[in-house]
Amino acid sequence: RRTPLETTTITTVDHHNSTWHEFENLLDTSKGSHVSGISEVKKYLQRFGYLKFSNTSSSDKFDNEFEVAVTRYQRKLGLTVTGNLDYETISQMTLPRCGMRDTLPPLKFHAIQH
């Protein structure tokens, strides 16, 4: 029996935006990833009110706080809530938009003891 040919799916995001188009390089990253450029998405989420500034804000680690922020963003913008930087989320982030912050309830992060 012949081995099926390996197929590769290439997903691209519409390149709408010169400011945030590099977010496309982060497609499908999820918690635990450490990818150059995540700090830029953190800045985006801080700017528009989804992520509180913290001492991990400048790191490229996809940490817990970042996942919570991505989830908040997805929920508020009416996207599928995955907590990951999926195609739908990256596409939304790269759209041109108003510069005013999105109005959200105050950010609260609770320490959870495991």
């Binding site: 709408h16 400011t19 041109p96 108003c98 510069g99 005013m100 912050r101 999105d102």
Partner: protein
């Protein structure tokens, strides 16, 4: 719909008239000023149709309630623009009256004559930013004018029920306005 913190609004007695003016120094070159003025007049009229506020243009920029200008990059309000696309504009909460548009965008008043793939509809953005100037924050109803994003070559002009209910909670209803006169598509988002 949402409001800014403290739910600010223009505090003068209703009904009232707010004046607006265009900065004589910060305009864009790819559009005629007369076209920009017509576009903003239409955008203001969408809001005045539903609330008891009128808007009138004045040449006296310094004393106008609402000050409109096209700015590039850092323009000293703490919210620098970022070039083509990205952030398109911002309008500040009452009673600041500042309405700023990014001069780097390819602003369009007519997509028939403006063929650029990154053209942005001026009237859609003007209508959205006027909503901020009047006191509405971003809505997360996708069809609403106050939703935060807009694609290039997209138009979003008509106020939806979400926008109207939000602004009428601040200022009351224009006595001539009838919610039932809205088209099916305007009301579908609230359903």
């Amino acid at each position: 719909y949402n409001y800014f913190k403290g739910k600010p609004r223009w505090s003068r007695a209703i009904p009232t008239t707010l004046t607006y003016a265009f900065s004589p120094n910060y305009i864009v070159s790819n559009l005629k000023l007369s076209d920009i003025k017509v576009t903003f007049r239409q955008a203001f009229s969408r809001w005045s149709a539903v609330i008891p506020l009128n808007f009138t243009e004045t040449e006296d920029y310094g004393f106008s309630d609402i000050k409109i200008g096209f700015y590039s990059g850092d323009h000293d309000d703490g919210e620098p623009f970022d070039g083509v696309l990205g952030v398109l504009a911002h309008g500040f909460s009452p009673e600041s009256g500042k309405l700023h548009l990014d001069a780097a965008e390819t602003w369009a008043v007519d997509f028939e004559s403006e063929k650029s793939g990154v053209a942005i509809d001026l009237e859609s953005v003007a209508t959205h930013e006027i909503g901020h100037v009047l006191g509405l924050a971003h809505s997360f109803v996708k069809e609403s004018v106050m939703y935060p994003s807009l694609k290039p070559r997209e138009k979003k002009l008509d106020l939806k029920v979400d926008d109207i209910e939000g602004i009428q909670e601040l200022y009351g209803s224009n006595p001539k306005f009838n919610m039932e006169s809205l088209s099916q598509s305007d009301t579908s988002s609230s359903n």
